[in-house]
């Protein structure tokens, strides 16, 4: 509990000063869709997949916690299968990026994940 003092009875004292100071400052919020903010380096955004590096080992599908990745047959890899990503399920944990032996999967800095159709977020091999 607080002891009564002179300043306590000063209504709006200390915040008013701060509020007045802020009145002359630029707004801190960003006008998002108009002004685009660049995500910092190392940001974990939407995944990108480079099939030419992929071996088809299937490690990524084994570690993914949300079953985003399923292995489908493909002629483009050595083991004749390649991952298919349903990115709408992805939680950006980065397990697949970590575990891939050839660095075929990487994060981009794209955080615009709102789409009209779920299919737009599917990466087919």
């Amino acid at each position: 509990m607080v002891e009564g003092g002179e300043e306590i009875d000063m209504p709006w004292g200390i915040v008013l000063k701060e509020a007045l100071r802020n009145l002359f400052k630029k707004p801190v919020t960003i006008n998002y869709p108009v002004v685009n903010v660049e995500a910092p380096e190392g940001f974990r955004g939407l995944l990108s997949f480079n099939i030419s590096k992929c071996l088809g080992c299937g490690n990524c599908a084994r570690v993914c916690p949300t079953n985003t990745i399923t292995m489908v047959p493909s002629d483009k890899t050595r083991l004749k299968r390649a991952p298919r990503f349903e990115l709408a399920k992805c939680v950006f944990c980065g397990s697949c990026v970590e575990v891939c032996p050839t660095k075929a999967i990487s994060f981009t800095r794209n955080y615009h994940t709102a789409v009209l159709k779920k299919d737009e977020l599917v990466i087919n091999p």
């Binding site: 509990m1 306590i8 910092p40 916690p65 950006f92 944990c93 397990s95």
Partner: protein, 401 residues
């Protein structure tokens, strides 16, 4: 006349929906009854179907605000099971994230409680200042929420000079802001009227009800896992436990504000003492099998003690993961806090223990005698409280003196 007020059925948007029934006589609350279990997500059961590593990212989702505490607590327990040697640098990075999390959680809470009592100016300021911390965690971990920085055996990302110097700036900035908020809270009549002497939980009750975290510390109980049972690097870190003897909502605000200053000090200490180089994780992979084992892991999350019990049967998946979150430990204390206070005091008192604010989605006032029923939603309750205080603050001030 006895009136029954149930508060808070569920709402799909909410994190932790809780239902309270308040029994009131006139404006005074005589009893309360919390009712939990509305969002049983089945996370504990789900952990049994996921591997040790996949669970890291599942358990992080238990709470959006203290995600790193949950993940870290689980990782710490799993490390005991794997009998891993965690490199020192990993512990420093982990602790840094925990303290940053405490900073942004307390800032968020401070904004919420100010909003509950109708002081939206301060709500805007605290949430603006919180962005500095959020930017920093985004820079370190790659995401603003759900940092996924911990892994079993250490951390996943190294920290560089640029991040450390920014951490220093953020710590200094937040410390200066926290001092400003402390001045504001102790001097603004509006805040004092709504929080001073409201929601009193005596020290005896706080101990008896096993409250944890800032709720216990605001009642003068020195209970802090970082201090009582040091984990990670807290046994080397110099810091003081913040306690206050006010036992009311004001004390809970003051304790959290002072804790931000302490956290900022810890962050500065970590920045200066962080090992320059060295490994950041032990060699455990997604496909390593642990021995049969069990472990208890405790972490001081922003809201209080977080407790994990983990059992392994030697396979790739845990056999049992049991979680006890701080809100569960604190929720019973709300009954004792509201007794004898007014309906208008419900929002700041319930907010005071830092549960999910929006728990109070709807309020139904039921007059037991003539079965009259009126429904409030949370916004209306806050508005009602502000109006009620405007009308009654003069005699209340006298009464509380």
């Amino acid at each position: 006349m006895s009136v029954k007020i149930p508060i808070g059925p569920i709402h799909p948007m909410l994190k932790e929906p809780i239902n309270f029934t308040f029994y009131v006589e006139g404006e005074t609350i005589v009893d309360a009854e919390p009712n939990i279990g509305f969002v049983h997500r089945g996370i504990e059961k789900l952990t049994e179907n996921k591997t040790w590593f996949q669970n890291l990212y599942l358990l992080e989702k238990v709470c959006g605000i203290c995600s790193s505490s949950h993940q870290g607590c689980y990782a710490q327990g799993a490390e005991m099971i794997f009998e891993a040697n965690v490199p020192e640098k990993a512990l420093y990075i982990r602790t840094l994230m925990w303290e940053l999390e405490r900073l942004h959680s307390h800032l968020l809470w401070l904004g919420v409680i100010m909003h509950e009592i109708g002081f939206d100016t301060l709500f805007m300021y605290t949430w603006r200042d919180r962005e500095a911390v959020m930017d920093l965690v985004e820079m370190i971990s790659g995401r603003r929420v759900g940092y996924s920085i911990n892994t079993i055996g250490g951390v996943r990302r190294d920290i560089d000079y640029r991040m450390l110097s920014k951490a220093l700036d953020v710590a200094n900035f937040i410390a200066s802001r926290a001092e400003f908020y402390e001045r504001v809270v102790l001097r603004e009549r509006t805040i004092l009227d709504r929080t001073d002497g409201v929601g009193v939980l005596s020290k005896v009750d706080a101990i008896r009800l096993n409250t944890v975290g800032p709720t216990a510390r605001a009642s003068g109980v020195k209970r802090d896992i970082r201090y009582n049972l040091p984990y990670a690097i807290y046994d080397e870190t110099p810091f003081d436990i913040v306690t206050d003897d006010g036992c009311d909502v004001l004390s809970r605000i003051i304790v959290r504000i002072r804790e931000m200053i302490v956290s900022a000090e810890i962050i500065k200490w970590i920045v200066f003492n962080m090992p320059k180089n060295g490994p950041i994780a032990a060699k455990i992979t997604h496909f390593t099998k642990p021995p049969e084992n069990e472990a208890i892991s405790r972490v001081e999350a922003p809201r209080g003690e977080l407790f994990y019990y983990i059992k392994s049967n030697g396979s790739l998946k845990p056999e049992r993961v049991k979680i006890r979150t701080p809100t569960l430990a604190n929720i019973v204390s709300v009954i004792h806090m509201v007794k004898g206070h007014y309906i208008a005091d419900i929002p700041p008192i319930v907010a005071g223990i830092d549960p999910c604010m929006s728990c109070m989605d709807r309020v139904a006032i039921i007059d037991v005698r003539n079965d009259k029923k009126s429904l409030f939603n949370h916004d209306q309750l806050v508005r009602y409280a502000i109006k009620w205080y405007k009308k009654n603050y003069r005699w209340l001030r006298e009464e509380r003196r």
